[in-house]
């Protein structure tokens, strides 16, 4: 009690609070990780769906998981050659 009060007065953070903060971040990051083969499967499925509507360059398609502070985004980039006419 007295110790932590002194630390607060001296503006020092407890090392255990640092540990806790790092741990929480690590766990969030760990859970966002996706297996490589799952990403490949997703990419193949997406290509099939998009190909129904557009003619695309399969080789130029890039699928990425973008992680930044506090949020995670799936980014798909594909060159479109032409729209399919029904």
């Amino acid at each position: 009690m007295i110790n932590s009060l002194l630390k607060k007065l001296m503006n020092r953070t407890d090392s255990k609070d640092v540990a806790k903060k790092r741990l929480k971040f690590a766990l969030v990051y760990d859970k966002l990780e996706v297996r490589e083969d799952i990403l490949t499967d997703l990419q193949n499925d997406l290509v099939d769906v998009i190909s129904r509507y557009f003619e695309i360059d399969r080789c130029g398609l890039v699928l990425d998981l973008d992680r930044s502070d506090g949020c995670s985004a799936l980014v798909l980039n594909t060159p479109i050659l032409s729209a399919r006419r029904q």
Partner: protein
């Protein structure tokens, strides 16, 4: 009535799984239960030396699974504690020597013979872990108050949930002085991060090293704080789930103790 299969696991190595298995097993046997402890760390067996039974191994878990012996032959009886039995791991095979299905079959038999069967899981989340959790009814996750141990515990907890097992947490090797100084994660911190039920708090204790040196049961040493904590965990697993968890980091003034008992009683009453 059928017995329970309880797996003791952690993800990270060296956090005290084997000591926890041996001590809780011994505690429950002393409380009059028939207990088997099984070393699942095939290729790197250690539960036998911790329990001081290494000179008496004839058969092991792989022999048992391959039908080369019966449970009665594989289970080594502890001569100091009645009703405590060890089924050792094989030292010459590896984790792939057995399959999860084999464990299901053996555990069915073990349930008929013993009130409690504790499976001492190897570190990691590979084959050995899969073998150990396959037939488990319950799980104890052992974790020390360190970032690496908590992170691995979180991973293992996720894998246990995926198998519909709700694990309980043991925080091991707490150093009260460091917790009070704010230099070690408190058990509240660990519970908050992992958000699972706590079943016991164990203080860092020299007696553990000494008991392991000599291969004697920790719970039989009267003045060991860790030994007492394990005895209480045993009671919680055996029909006394509400037995209060004592916090080794709280200053043990009489008033605080009373305060804790009062608040517990109130909670039960309400």
């Amino acid at each position: 009535m059928e017995g329970k299969i309880i797996v003791v696991t952690s993800g990270k190595g060296g956090v005290g799984k084997t000591t926890v298995t041996a001590s809780i097993g011994a505690a429950l046997a002393l409380q009059g239960k028939r207990v088997a402890v099984v070393d699942m760390d095939i290729g790197l067996r250690n539960l036998d030396v911790v329990m001081g039974l290494e000179n008496r191994i004839v058969f092991n878990i792989v022999d048992l699974i391959n039908g080369r012996c019966k449970i009665r032959q594989a289970a080594i009886k502890d001569r100091r504690i009645n009703n405590l039995f060890l089924i050792p791991a094989s030292q010459s095979d590896d984790k792939n020597a057995i399959k999860p299905e084999d464990m299901s079959k053996i555990c069915e038999q073990l349930k008929k013979e013993f009130d409690f069967t504790f499976l001492d899981c190897p570190a990691g989340i590979e084959q050995g872990f899969k073998n150990a959790i396959e037939a488990a009814d319950e799980a104890l996750v052992v974790c020390t108050p360190e970032v690496s141990a908590v992170r691995d515990a979180d991973r293992v907890i996720g894998l246990l949930y995926a198998r519909s097992i709700t694990p309980k947490l043991i925080v091991n090797r707490i150093i009260p002085k460091m917790v009070q100084k704010g230099d070690m994660l408190s058990h509240e911190d660990v519970v908050e991060v992992l958000s699972i039920d706590l079943v016991g708090l164990v203080e860092m204790d020299d007696a553990v090293v000494i008991a392991t040196n000599t291969g004697t049961p920790l719970v039989m040493q009267k003045d060991s704080k860790a030994g007492k904590a394990f005895t209480r965990i045993g009671m919680r697993l055996d029909g006394h789930p509400d037995l209060p968890v004592e916090d080794p980091s709280s200053q043990k003034s009489l008033w605080k103790k009373l305060g804790i008992t009062f608040s517990r009683k109130n909670r039960i009453a309400s």
